[in-house]
């Protein structure tokens, strides 16, 4: 199974890669750190599974850092792009925040994930809360990756 990680945070990427390394059915893992490189990789790499962050920079600069505006719901936009381009990979949303935005535009992560699962039911498998200080998310992600593989 080919996996694409779309996330701009290095420590999170390392954590996700470590989990995928323990899944022997994962053959290749690629990383994209922005909305643009993510959607490009989706078209070119054609992954089976996408681990998708919610907030993303638009693109990356030549030096590799984030560039362009920040997209608070960049993950949602990636999902819309997948539908627009008929890309059928399964998606697991990875978030480390409890909510996005601030009052009165604050959206709880749970609500957002539920909304994504509803609006993109054909591709979104679920969401995982990533944490750097505990490892509950590890088993949850592994279970979800296995479930996604079963549904391929």
């Amino acid at each position: 199974m080919n996996v694409l990680i779309i996330d701009d945070t290095d420590y999170k990427i390392s954590g996700l890669k470590a989990v995928l390394a323990n899944c022997d059915f994962v053959t290749e893992v690629r990383v994209a750190k922005s909305f643009q490189s993510g959607t490009r990789a989706l078209r070119q790499f054609k992954p089976d599974l996408v681990l998708l962050d919610m907030t993303l920079p638009t693109t990356e600069s030549a030096r590799g850092g984030a560039d362009g505006r920040w997209r608070l719901f960049g993950g949602k936009e990636v999902l819309a792009e997948m539908r627009f381009s008929n890309i059928a990979a399964k998606v697991i949303l990875i978030t480390q925040f409890d909510h996005y935005g601030e009052h009165p535009h604050r959206v709880e992560s749970k609500t957002l994930i539920a909304e994504m699962k509803r609006d993109f039911a054909e591709i979104v498998v679920g969401g995982v809360y990533y944490s750097n200080i505990d490892s509950i998310w590890v088993s949850r992600l592994r279970d979800m990756v296995i479930a996604a593989r079963r549904n391929l």
Binding site: D8, R71, I133
Partner: protein
Amino acid sequence: MDQQAFLAVAAIRSRGKAAHRGAKYLRSSADSTDQLEALRQLPIDDLFVEELLTGRLFARTWRDVFFQVKAPPIVNSQRSIDWLMSVFEQHSDAIRTHVALRKKFDCAALHGQWDAATDLLSRHQAAFGQSLWLAAWHYLVAEETNGITARRELTQQLRLAECGPHLFFLAGFFSISADKSLPESQLRDALANAMRAADPSLRQLFELLILEDFPSPHWLASEVLRSAEFIPLIDRYELFLRLATIAAGTAHAEAGRLAAGLQRIKMFCRDSRVDYLSDTMGRSIFYHVGGNTQKLLAAWDAHLTGDYARGYEISRNVAMEEPDLIVANETMVRCAMQLHLEDSLDGATPISLLWQHLRNVLAKNQNAEDSINYLRRLGRRFRIFSLTGPLRGLHARHVASDSGDELLRRGSFMMGVHSPRNFERGHTEEVSNSYLARCIEAFPQSLAMKFLRDIQLPNSPVPLAEFPSVPPIRQHLFAGLLAARRHNDDIASRNLNAFLDLQKDSMNDPLALFTTEEARKALADVYRRKDDVVKMQRVVVEAYQLRPASIRYFPVGRLFRFCEDYANEASNHIEYAILAGLACSSSHETSMAVRRFLNTLAVDRPSGLATKDHIDRHLLAILFLRVCTWDVLDSFPALDTTSKVESERLALLRWVSQYDPTLNRVAETEMLRLTQEGQLRDALERIEGTRVTVDLPGLKEAEYARFADAYFRFAAERELGSQIRSEALGTLSGFQSATGPPRIARRQAEHILQGQASEIGTFASAFTDIRDIFLSSPHFGVDACLSSRVRHGIVIQHLRRPFVERRLMVRSDVPERAEIESYWRRRLAVSDGKSNFKRVLAILFRLTRHVEAIAEEVKNIWIQIATESRRSSGLFDYTFNERQLRDLLDNRLRDVVDVDTFLDAIFDELLARTRQSLKTVQKQVREELLRRLADVLDDALKSVESLSEPSLLPLRNDLVSCRTEIERTCQEMARWFDYSDPTLMGDMDFHLVARTAVGMAERLNPDFRGRHRIECHTPYRLKGRYFTALVHILFFLLENAIRYSSVPLTSYQGAVRITSEGNRLCLGVENRMLSDDAAIQAVEKIRIQLQELRSALDPVKVVREGGTGFAKIIATTRYEFKQNDAVIEANSELTLVSVSLRCQVAGIAA
């Protein structure tokens, strides 16, 4: 009176135990005759009677205005209405007097006759005592005559009068509501926040009193009227009228009961508003047929048939007499516009302003949007029954809002006078027709009524033969609009298109834009219902083309969703992409819609459309300019870098500027802005990426004498050493040929070796001198560079920034603590005394200590130079051991015979060491610094989670986002240490210099973003190679201003000013201090410092940490600009401090 009522009265009179039961009977069970008789028999101003039965009807003092009663509640709505009507009837004289005074007052207020209005308020007070009605109008009169100061005085008076908390609360909102500029939404938000925790019934009452509206449809008349017993008779009466209209407008279950109540009181209260409301809520024949209704119908007839002079005359007379009648005002304004009598609308009185804003709205001119909002505010401020509701309805008609129909319905019940179109909008066909039929019955002479009835009859041939005096264009418009409302879509589209065709030839009509928009809005709905998506989107875009602001008038979101349902068909047309731009709140959604359209033409970016000749050029210009904005373009797969997006946007703007004369100015303005932003981005990138540079030519030039001295010392000692060596060798060979003792030969050999040792010592001494100059030269040295571009006010701020932005940095001993503490209290919804909050603060204190310690270490240890003499742990390591020096000497310098070659070789070595150090620093920043900051944050995160408190989630969120942000912070910081040569930039204007300096200062101090002004008046352009130096000069001055101004953040304002006069250039920074004294002291301090520096610039001071950076500014002007007569001045004027540098233009700019 029946016996039970008689006993009830007696019980109340006796004030015994049965009084409560008696009151309950009278209020809830007695019939209206008995209620009236009982009220007649009981004393009205008796406290016991008031408390138990009626509430306080007439308030003698402000404190009495909100009077809590102990009367048994009436739970049945019908009973509570009956009781209230009985109370009204009992006091019918008072109500009639109030109605008469109110009518005069409304007229005086709208005509701006404030003395007369004030007099009427005094008369009202003398007649009825204090009331909410009076309080609200006092505030309005105060605002109109003396503004906010007068309103504050009024509030103060109420406070002194000890009016009680409820009235004080209401008065506060009456005051806010009277404000001329406060938007409606802010008032509603403020009230919602203030009433969040209030008792529901009290909240309902207050909402009705303040907003004259209910945000929620769930209310019961019994509950509202129960609360209304707390307020005086006059206020209950006014409240009842509003409650009845709200009920009628929302088809509330209790509307019928309220209408019946109105029927009862209209017989005695002589209130034209009650008459109209009662007529329109009921089903019987009209009662309100005389007076101004007749006159206005005549005005309507005249207007409909094009006799605008007569229409104007009649409607103006009515408007002057009853200025609160919107129908009169609107008819008058329409006629005045047709007659070009717009001067007659001029004036500064409220009614004149109402006319002028109505004119703007109807003309759809550039002020139309502001005017419609003004009118809505006017309706709120002037609490006049027949004005507030209709103006809210008018607002709803002109902006597409979800609550539009409801507001229109309510407005129609508040018009106060009959007219043919009162019930046209927001109501069902049945209601509208029923109203028209009753109108025709009551006013058989009215042509307008008959016309509007006949024009909507099915199969009517338009134009109607029986109405030859009504112009065909008007007939088609009305026929189309009315058919559209009835969903007779074929008739509607036929008539509306006929109207639009005719209208094309009469666009000079002052109301042409208005009627065209009305027609197109209706037509868009018709096409939507007919599933004709292509025509629908075309109609919307045509409306936008004619007047872009009109799009607020269309429900574009709903219309675009319809387009999405038929995307395959709709996306073949450019209108689809334009509509997406108008409708989508997310730029990404717009981007996908635009791409869908582009896909149909097989182009991958909008500029590809420029060659498609079949597309209308103006529509293309709209698409390029208005829809394909930066945020839309940056989602295109073909535009996957910032520079590609920028090029594409500029290409689109250039095309618009070239091909569309109507939009070229807007396009050019944006091109200029984009170019400037691009320049600023490049400039900031350049500053970020060239923090550590070694300007060797500058260094050589500035320090040549010292470098040459070091070389010549080395050369001389090398020469001397060589002579000594040959002498020694000669001596040795002489001894060797003789038979001298071997001890002497050994001594000679040692002497030769000493000579060799002294050669490396000589070189080491020269190398050390040159290296130290390379490192410590006052302006060009590496340390000066590290000090001024990294350490001075930069590195610590940079590392703190992610924490400061999220209010995570707080120390227990700083003034900002209170602000940050209250920020977190607010965000975490902490009430006082919660022990967890103390723990939260402790976590933040600890986090702050650690982050500050790390930042200090980076500044004071890492970003330092290490040499043999400094022995620091700095990562810029310039220590050389003997072997390294010997290698250098042996391999490159032994035979060097000139200064430059010698220097070049040593500089090569030092530059190589610089590059190596930069790599070390980068690695350290990316790995060690990131790890340490991350550990600190993880530690804080664990501590927060250990508190297991759901309310701390916002803090957790911010810690996590800070954890992500520090990765970027470290990456950005690592980029500072890319090695770069000081390459030349092109010449640039000084505005860019100022913007770059401000950009740097604001990046490092995020709280100060947008708080700087730039003024630049000079024809000169700066030479590119001085860009970095000059930006840093301004940056130092700005940093000082930010750091030492001591004013609260919210009042900080800084300015950068660059001017030139003759050959002198002046760069200055200004900011306000807390007080005049503080400004004088600051200036004195700066002057002393400058005096010290001016006498002898000590290179050590240049690289010394902290301070004000003035030494660095002097060093820059002296060494880089080569000007010794530059002047730094500090001055103050009241609280304003300005610090400026004056230098010569020559050399640095042209």
